[in-house]
Symmetry: none
Subunit: 189 residues, 4 copies
DNA sequence: ACCTCCGGGACCTCCCGTTGGT
DNA sequence: ACCAACGGGAGGTCCCGGAGGT
């Protein structure tokens, strides 16, 4: 039984600083400081900075609650909108300037870490698949035009969301996010 | 005029490495090596790595030829589609794995360099404004439903494009780009 | 008696890695991993890495079976040659690239660990003394010219052997070992 | 034109500490301290600690003056003996406890640095070749029994020397060196 | 303008040994 | 005896930028 739980502190502090500063700009020193953990303890819990980032990304994705989106009840389209509204809320909780962790890593780390690239790509795919599935539920329920290609629309919406968060991040303004919601749900679908 | 060789080499080599590796992962040493320029000459031409990145970003944006898009002739929607097809071609010329320089910088540098953040944000805004303008031309020409909110659609399309490039970068697959084109021009508009 | 398993595993795994990588290049982590022993258990059995190395060196020297060389029967010179052929076989069992543990430690650790330095020096001296003794037996038996200075020859042969193993280690070739055997027994004696 | 000559200082200080402490036990910090060079300057001159060790080894070997041994005048055997007496003097100048740099590296680094292993192996071979050549000159001059196999004897002598230095290093006593000289030149040849 | 050499400081990683609970 | 978790400190490497002479 651990005296303290340095690993969880590292995950917590690591998330803060990796999310806010990015991977390369966040040093292991920054991370252990944010986690209030002695530097020498870092590698007792993670093989590398990359391994910590991987773990953090995994947990980040879990918060999107894909099973809840796929299997929830209520009208599919409303569920989908609520889902994205929830994501927006998550990604703006500490302000609009930090974007989405997986979006950030997708551009910064695709060429530097194969494991992270795979995890991020897989997360986008899984997310897209669930969105697509909900779109199909909406078509089955007669909420959405059955002639629409859900398999193309699902990933498109996810990509558009990521583009919007990046835009919000750089502009410092949540408008892109609201625009995403409005355009997607009032015009595209 | 003296040979401006060194500076141009720096811009060229700097673009390669900044685009391919990202800002923090590319060292000034990498840049001067790619540019075949002695290390010590770097600071004769740029005050800092940031200044070089700024210059490179400026030139990168110029290649999007916004004036050409706004003022070209031919049917507006066709022009817009050709514009984005050209951008896709530019961003996939050396493969799909490098994404879009301004998209990359938007996520990596928003929190680190105020000048770059401003430049990137301004570039997105300018681009969005031109796309919006073309959309309005399409409405005037009766190509596009006049009731659509062009001011919302323009930026949305730009954001969706950026989301798609990021997705392609991380997946290693150009499908997101083709999906962007198809969905945007066949369904959204 | 309790299972002395862990300690023996440590000696076994420690030998592997200390022999193959050298003292400084082998970490305690490497050792416990090779021994399949939890890190925390190491210090229940040895006060330090140095103490383990000492124990390993002691056992290594025992395998040379000096009593067997001194007290064996048969013609002294033949016994001596068989002895060195056996040593060569031991030191090349896993290939020629690892040398002789005490030779390795003699160069790497003479200045770092007084106990190991003493043990290694003492081992060389003991070995030399036995070789000298066998040389005297050979002189008594008329196998070897009685005018030779056995007290000088014994240590010289040992030193030459160590030089040959080191040479083999660095060249990756067993020729120095065969040369040692041939020259020593066909020409020197 | 350099303000100071940090590279040469590094070679000098690096030799001291690498020779006296060994490769792994000598840190880059130790080296720069011994060289009175700021730590940050190290990598302006050498790509790595290994590269410095390589350079130092190269220069060390040059001091053996192999061309001088091969091409000198005077009776071959006397020249050879003077050569080894000179080497002994070099290797005992600061005491007997440091051994021979290439002998030290041969055991410590054979498995860690391929470039150093090659350089050391090549140096031994070159040295052996010259010794062999001088032996042949001695045979031609009638100083040495022509039936002896010089090609085997040359390398054997070099190996014996290295074994003797290692022995002296660990025993703290120059006796092995004197024994090497006496036995080699009074009995072996 | 050019460029060789310089360097304070920080990077990620890992070292050896300990602590304290079972 | 065992061992999971701990940690002060150092390891080799490289960063961005500057100094100073040509």
């Amino acid at each position: 039984m651990p005296q303290r739980n340095l690993k969880e502190q590292l995950v917590g502090g690591g998330f803060e600083v990796l999310y806010e500063k990015g991977y390369h700009a966040a040093s292991v020193n920054d991370i252990v400081a944010a986690a209030s953990v002695p530097k020498g303890s870092f590698y007792n819990h993670f093989d590398s900075k990359e391994a910590l980032a991987l773990e953090i990304t995994r947990r980040y994705v879990e918060r999107y609650d894909l099973p809840g989106l796929a299997g929830g009840d209520g009208p599919p389209l409303a569920r989908l909108r609520e889902h994205f509204e929830g994501i927006v809320a998550q990604n703006t909780r500490r302000g609009v300037r930090y974007g989405c962790l997986i979006g950030n890593f997708s551009t910064e780390l695709a060429g530097h870490s194969e494991p992270i690239r795979e995890l991020v790509a897989g997360s986008f795919d899984a997310w897209s698949a669930v969105v697509t599935e909900v779109l199909r539920q909406a078509q089955a329920a007669g909420e959405l035009d059955a002639s629409l290609d859900a398999g193309r629309l699902g990933p498109y919406i996810v990509d558009s969301y990521e583009g919007a968060v990046a835009r919000a991040k750089v502009s410092g303004d949540r408008a892109p996010l609201d625009r995403f919601l409005a355009t997607t749900f009032e015009q595209l679908l």
